[in-house]
Symmetry: C2
Subunit: 199 residues, 2 copies
């Protein structure tokens, strides 16, 4: 046994997280061992709070600590424009870019037949309900520029255009194959300005 | 506010850990949000257990979940040979290399005047006590090959050689400037075989 059981178990749990390999997990475990108990307690409190308080917005499926997220509640944002994203984590970079002032809709993934994810596994039906209820004029599909992102954008274009909704896609200011999550603010702003309608 | 308070706070706590920048912290936070509550509970239990159970060995200052660590307790390991390391995290790679079958001594750091760390901040006095009590014939100083590692090795050599103890240093199988923590097993084995006495 190279490590005592509690340390080995902590390293094992840390390695389940994305981007944490054996070396990183070990480094983190030794940090936890050496750091003050109050700091670890603060981390644990933050973990518990996130699991207890964070849930999906009932309208757009963004993450929120109340029933309806701040963007859906906001009176300053246009109800005529919805930006569709794959995941809630795509929203902060868009907000940081600052060029979008409409509402959001979080799909909860992207269409990917190889992974068994079709339109029914996403919140597309809920998006249609929103379109039927509200005064939505344009849907901006802000999915990644990879295959799943393109397929999902085309699918949304196909089902929404017969309803008289303008469906646009972010302009290729985004470098091909790049993840939206890591885009810089200027690139994202350009992508919003140059968005094009899905043919 | 781009993120709800619990998410922002979790990201903030995660960013305090070594090697975790804003993007990694965000990725981990979204993983925590999406993952099953049981998995997060297991992680929290592992964090609590490590903080509650892990302490320093009373003999060698290795990390252990009992009073005396497994290496100090072991009857299979030579009492005549002590490998001195800066930190408990240096022990697993040495054990993995498998060429050392003596006991350990963890200094708790390296001499570094610029950081205000002198010999008194380390467990060197306790190492001297062990030498006075036990049948130790050789001390292998397995510190990193950087300045602090060299200075510490030379210091230990200087104070132990008058006591008739052989003090050796790991051979430069280790690449210069490299961290012991990341050495591969073959390099470490060679370094143990080729260790040389400190002049």
């Amino acid at each position: 046994m190279l490590l005592s059981e509690p340390v080995a178990r902590l390293i094992n749990e840390l390695m389940k997280m994305p981007g944490i390999g054996p070396k990183s997990a070990q480094r983190l475990a030794y940090y936890i061992i050496k750091t003050k108990i109050e700091d670890v307690e603060r981390l644990i409190r933050a973990l518990v709070d996130v699991k207890e308080k964070i849930r999906q917005c009932k309208i757009c499926f963004n993450l929120t600590d109340s029933d309806i997220c701040e963007y859906c509640r906001s009176l300053d944002r246009s109800d005529e424009l919805i930006c569709v994203v794959a995941s809630a984590k795509d929203i902060p970079p868009i907000e940081k870019a600052g060029s979008f002032r409409g509402k959001y809709h979080v799909l909860g993934g992207l269409i990917s037949p190889l992974d068994g994810i079709g339109p029914d596994q996403l919140t597309i039906k809920k998006l249609l309900e929103r379109i039927n209820q509200d005064t939505i004029k344009e849907i901006i599909v802000a999915t990644d520029s990879d295959t799943s992102g393109e397929v999902t954008a085309l699918y949304i274009g196909k089902i929404l255009k017969p309803l008289g909704i303008t469906v646009t896609r972010l302009a290729y200011g985004l470098p091909m194959g790049a993840s939206l999550e890591y885009a810089d603010e200027v690139t994202l702003s350009r992508a919003f300005e140059g968005r094009r309608e899905i043919e």
